[in-house]
């Protein structure tokens, strides 16, 4: 019975970790595509920091840093920092 509980717990943990991994991947891809759509360079995102709703700081592997956010007019703004 203990093994069953253990397996179930591991399954739940794996599903949870997978979900968080998916979310991080999706966010990274989304931000990278957004930066590229604005004509800015970012070869690979190495870190993202959420400042608030639709507001992120992004660091790229090539050293570029961007502030990606949605302004009050609903436009996506990518500011190089």
């Amino acid at each position: 019975m203990n093994r069953v509980v253990t397996v179930t717990t591991i399954t739940a943990a794996a599903a949870l970790y997978c979900a968080s991994s998916f979310a991080a991947d999706d966010l990274g891809k989304d931000l990278k595509a957004t930066i590229a759509l604005q004509g800015m360079a970012c070869d690979q995102i190495i870190s993202t920091k959420r400042n608030g709703d639709s507001d992120y700081n992004v660091a790229c592997k090539d050293g570029n840093r961007y502030h990606v956010y949605v302004n009050d007019k609903g436009r996506v703004i990518v500011q190089k920092q």
Binding site: T11, A14, S21, I46, V68
Partner: protein, 261 residues
């Protein structure tokens, strides 16, 4: 007593198999994100995901050993393998994307995951059948980018077949597709709105932008959308590509444009 114990063992084994299948379904769903999780492994937000990867690999090792035991016991695993065989892609002439998806489907090991993957694979295959093939009828991205930098007359040599245009359906599918993230969708919408406002200014006589320049911007914008869609939502990309000229016919006609804007 012995029979009772046998029943307990059987129930335990059944529960174990179910748990393994659930775990494998989760891991199979997690598998395609491997490359991108390594991209984000140094991020503060993805510290969880890197630890998740290590934990998932441990879990995978556990599940692998458990799967082998369940394979030894049972009919369930044999049905899983038969399900895997049915998912094997029979198509060789479709695009690499379709075969890639089917390959992903074959890598999943649970019945439910296989059923889902089979639906997805069959959907992609039917999409590839109904929609125009990406490589055969449409120019490649390199050709598109080369032609987009040239005059608009060369751009009008796009696919001749123009299916009936359903803008509402395309818009709805674009809104709902998961191939493009929220930020990217919003950014694209901004650019579409900018282009439409430039068309309005052009027809109102408030802008000196030539129609050929607007056509170039339209092509570039469409190319961005297709680039974002072609890997993860190939049917939608194919439909948009085949609607390119029909949409342009609306945009370049002031009367038709006035009706949609």
């Amino acid at each position: 007593m012995v029979a009772n114990r046998h029943c307990d063992d059987a129930a335990f084994a059944r529960h174990q198999v179910i748990a393994c299948l659930t775990l494998l379904a989760g891991l199979a769903a997690c598998a395609p994100s491997g490359q991108n999780s390594t991209e984000l492994q140094h991020s503060t937000a993805s510290e969880q995901s890197s630890s998740a990867a290590s934990a998932s690999s441990e879990v995978a090792a556990v599940s692998a050993s458990m799967t082998t035991s369940s394979v030894a016991t049972g009919a369930v695993s044999s049905s899983v393998s038969s399900a895997e065989k049915t998912v094997t892609p029979p198509v060789s002439s479709t695009s690499a994307k379709t075969s890639g998806n089917s390959h992903k489907a074959t890598s999943s090991s649970s019945q439910s995951a296989n059923a889902e993957a089979h639906e997805v694979a069959s959907a992609h295959e039917t999409g590839a059948e109904t929609a125009p093939p990406v490589s055969s009828t449409a120019p490649s991205n390199a050709t598109e980018s080369a032609s987009s930098s040239s005059s608009s007359t060369t751009l009008s040599t796009a696919p001749a077949s123009q299916p009936s245009l359903d803008l509402d359906s395309l818009e709805q599918r674009l809104r709902e597709t998961k191939a493009i993230g929220v930020f990217t969708k919003l950014s694209l919408k901004n650019q579409v709105d900018d282009l439409l406002s430039d068309f309005r200014a052009h027809y109102a006589g408030k802008s000196r932008v030539a129609l050929s320049d607007l056509r170039q911007r339209y092509d570039l914008l469409l190319m961005k959308i297709l680039t974002l869609l072609q890997d993860d939502d190939a049917p939608l990309a194919a439909d948009i590509r085949s609607s390119r000229e029909a949409i342009w016919d609306i945009l370049r006609d002031p009367n038709k444009f006035a009706q949609i804007s």
